[in-house]
């Protein structure tokens, strides 16, 4: 039974995004269950379900990265954890998409640079504190979802799900930001229609069009000026930085591992 996540619904509109190197997003869609009530969002390594009240999806959002406690123990530094996040995101981008990979690499450099450039703002107020430092804020950066397929509402009773395809999607909390890298592919009629439907009918979607020419520039500068202002200040509204591995998740994993040992 196909769950029809419908972002046009007046009652609890939900948006499903299937992302990564998925060859058949419809098959992923068919395998999903409805989002349980009172659940703010669902996030896995293949899909996300969000609603207007969902929090932003960030590198430190639970669900997408699948880190085991043993993997975490082997990581020594903030930079190493960030590199792991970058590797996992890049692993969801096709090796046959140079411009997308260039975009993501530029994005990761950009968010790192942002934490450096705003260092004084991001350091703890108590200068003596060593609880965190400015670099820890990098995990608050928006989570890029490469090759995002946004499920469109069932318009004609067809059993075959339809998707609008985005090169990258970001969920900024109350805002779906789709990135289209322009200048490589002429869109087919159906691709154009589906993207147009998303732009016109989705209650909180915005498309940012990034010219491919800029990404081929060897300087690899991220085109931040094309994005809305809050995009660059991803830490705003947050009290503290958090890493991608939360204590609760750690405890859950340890408990699970203990069970397995005893069985």
């Amino acid at each position: 039974m196909l769950v029809n996540y419908d972002f046009t619904s007046g009652n609890d509109p939900q948006t499903l995004l299937v992302y990564g190197m998925v060859t058949d997003p419809a098959a992923v869609t068919r395998s999903l269950s409805p989002m349980p009530p009172d659940t703010p969002f669902l996030l896995s390594n293949r899909f996300a379900v969000v609603s207007p009240s969902s929090p932003a999806l960030r590198l430190n959002s639970p669900g997408w990265i699948d880190l085991s406690p043993i993997q975490m123990m082997e990581i020594a530094s903030t930079a190493d954890i960030f590199d792991l996040c970058c590797d996992r995101v890049m692993g969801n981008a096709s090796p046959f998409s140079r411009s997308l990979r260039a975009f993501l690499e530029a994005y990761f450099k950009f968010v790192t640079a942002q934490t450096e450039n705003h260092r004084t703002q991001l350091e703890p107020a108590d200068a003596e504190s060593d609880v965190f430092n400015h670099a820890d804020w990098v995990f608050s950066a928006w989570l890029p979802l490469p090759h995002a397929h946004v499920l469109l509402p069932d318009a004609d009773g067809s059993d075959e799900p339809r998707f609008a395809e985005l090169d990258v999607a970001f969920l900024l909390g109350g805002r779906l930001l789709g990135v289209m890298i322009e200048g490589i592919n002429t869109k087919t009629k159906s691709q154009h229609q589906r993207l147009q439907y998303l732009e016109e009918r989705h209650p909180f979607a915005t498309i940012v069009r990034v010219p491919v020419a800029g990404l081929e520039d060897k300087t690899g500068a991220f085109p931040a000026d094309l994005f809305p202002a809050p995009f660059s200040h991803f830490w705003e509204g947050l009290d503290l930085p958090q890493g991608p591995y939360r204590l609760a998740a750690l405890m859950d994993d340890l408990g699970e591992s203990g069970k397995q040992k005893g069985s």
Binding site: T23, P95, S97, R98
Partner: protein, 410 residues
Amino acid sequence: MTEAQSNNMKLLAHNTLDGFGGVGEGMALQLTNKGRRILWIAHEGPPKNFTGVDVTDPKNPKVVCQTELKHENMRSNSLEVTGDILAVAYQVYQLGVQPAGIELFDVSDPENPKSIGFHDTSGPHSRGVHCLWFVDGEYIHCASGSSDFEPRHPRDDQFYQIIDVRNPSKMEEVGRWWMPGTREGDDAPPPERVNPEPMEELRGGDAFRLHNANVYPEHPDRAYLGYIDGGCFILDISDKSNPTVVSEWCPHPPYPGFTHTVMPLFDRGLLVVTDECIKDDGVDWPKLTWIIDARNEKNLVPISTLPMPPVEEYGHKGGRFGSHNLHENRPGPSFRSEEIIVGAFFNAGVRVYSIKNPYQPELIANYVPPGPENSRVPTIQINEVYVDENAIVYAGDRWAGGLYIMEMEI
């Protein structure tokens, strides 16, 4: 006459080109300064040189120009348009015959093409130009013989030439390359023939000569060559006077030869390589379209082929069955995609593939017109295909059917 077969494609119009419906390997679209859209079409053979069709309304194409060759011992199989300049390839059927080379026309008035220059490549061992590429308004990249080139084998006569056409009245060759071993006097040994055939017949396979040379403005320092039985070559042409080999890939043997087109997909690090079918009735099956991983351009790795319909169904329907030309993502009023490949597959018609997953290409649309009247074979023989920026597909039959205009419903 058979029924048309279609899947996600709709025929908008068919035009037999005033009874001269044998279409060669050249189609190019001109946008005139008066807002007209003129499709220029090369013919497979004489008596016609080229035809201009007004496709401003693709449902109602109109022939507005049709020109004659100088004689019947020649053909103009290939053409390209950039701006208002039409470049036409002249190839002759016997060595030494003229005119052989390239003629440029000003087609700003499409009803009255005006010759503005001719580049002679005739010679005692030359058949002139078989195929040309002209997308930047400055250089033509072509497969041609030359007055000073004596091939070791008579069918190895056409090699890569770069012609500076910035002054149309004084075109000049600025660079050349041939496969080592194919010219008399080469240090390299001659290549071993893949499928030896009698030497008397100049046309056809068993050849180590150039077919297509593709050079794109995004990477003007690279030429992508389909060198028939020699496979494909990537050349560094940053110094046009001294092209050098970056890499090569050749599946022949065991595959039956005739590499035709090498189309790079730069963003994806892929090549699409076709082997042209040149014999009727499945004799040279399989003629495949290969997807090559070229992320490392010095290490070309084949990863898949475009799926073909069953040989037991198509191999003996009549005419040729296999790969041939592609829509080549050229600049201009053109559909450009690195995920959707449109090809001409002779009796299997026009086929449209998604290579979003390059390891598993998928047929997403096709159109097989019925066998045309007055053709020398009972089936359609789609020989050439061009797709415009609105995803309208223009395809031509090799012998008689003329122009088919289709819309992709994808």
